[in-house]
């Protein structure tokens, strides 16, 4: 009996990432989402010519496409953030530079997600002239 912490507390705070299996599970769930949404996106690119801006806007503006594109954008940014986070944790070792890298990684992914979401919504709500 060398510790007063309960087994539960040890488990809940465990691991170098300090979040147990949360990261692992989140990565798998977002991967499953991207597998479905990404396949839809690739099939769309094959069957629809989106090279012209007007055609692209008309396609994005259709509600089912707007919604699926929003989901794809968020899932991609989330999954990408989880992946880059692991790479940083593997290769960046200084305690300060590691935290800075992880925060910048998160910021960058939020910016990418916000930009994509903003573009989709602007087109969906008829704001793209």
């Amino acid at each position: 009996m060398s510790s007063l912490r309960s087994p539960l507390a040890k488990v809940l705070g465990s691991g170098s990432a300090k979040d147990g299996t949360g990261h692992f599970w989140s990565q798998r769930v977002s991967a499953a989402g991207i597998a479905l949404l990404g396949s839809w996106f690739v099939l769309t690119l094959l069957t629809t010519d989106l090279g012209d801006r007007n055609d692209l806007i008309a396609w994005v503006a259709a509600p089912q496409n707007s919604i699926l594109l929003l989901l794809l954008s968020i899932a991609l940014a989330w999954h990408s953030n989880l992946g880059v986070q692991v790479v940083i944790e593997d290769y960046v070792h200084g305690p300060f530079i590691k935290v800075v890298s992880l925060v910048l990684c998160k910021f960058a992914h939020f910016v990418a997600a916000a930009a994509a979401v903003f573009g989709i919504l602007k087109i969906a709500f008829g704001g793209a002239a």
Binding site: R28, A31, A32, I34, A35, G38, S39, V42, L45, L46, R53, L56, I57, V60, L69, S73, L76, A77, S80, G83, V84, V87, H109, A112, A113, A115, A116, F118, G119, I120, K122, I123, G127, A128, A129
Partner: protein, 124 residues
Amino acid sequence: MSNSGRPLSPHLSIYRWPVTMTVSILHRVSGIALSAGLVVFAWWLLAASSGPGAWDQFSAFATSWIGQLMLIGWSAAFFFHLANGIRHIVWDFGYGFELPTANASAWFVLVLTVILTAAFWVLA
């Protein structure tokens, strides 16, 4: 060295690079490449929503030879990461860890990536 047939430690001159390691490294490399591609994905949507000027800038990049080359690279990275990601999820369920199976699935993922990438650009 009379006891031939027994396992030896890896050594530079006798080490055979396993295909499973190549695919493992490629999974991480393709993931990082796709993270960079996310920026272009956001740029694509943002440019379309902004106006003809912004769209022409994106279009000029996407249709240039370097842009086309990068798009082919991103498509290959996507198909590889998708196929190998499914391989990883099968592993998560506890299947396919046997060495012959893991080697075969690694080669399958590589061949599938080439086929899907080629098919995508031929059909697109």
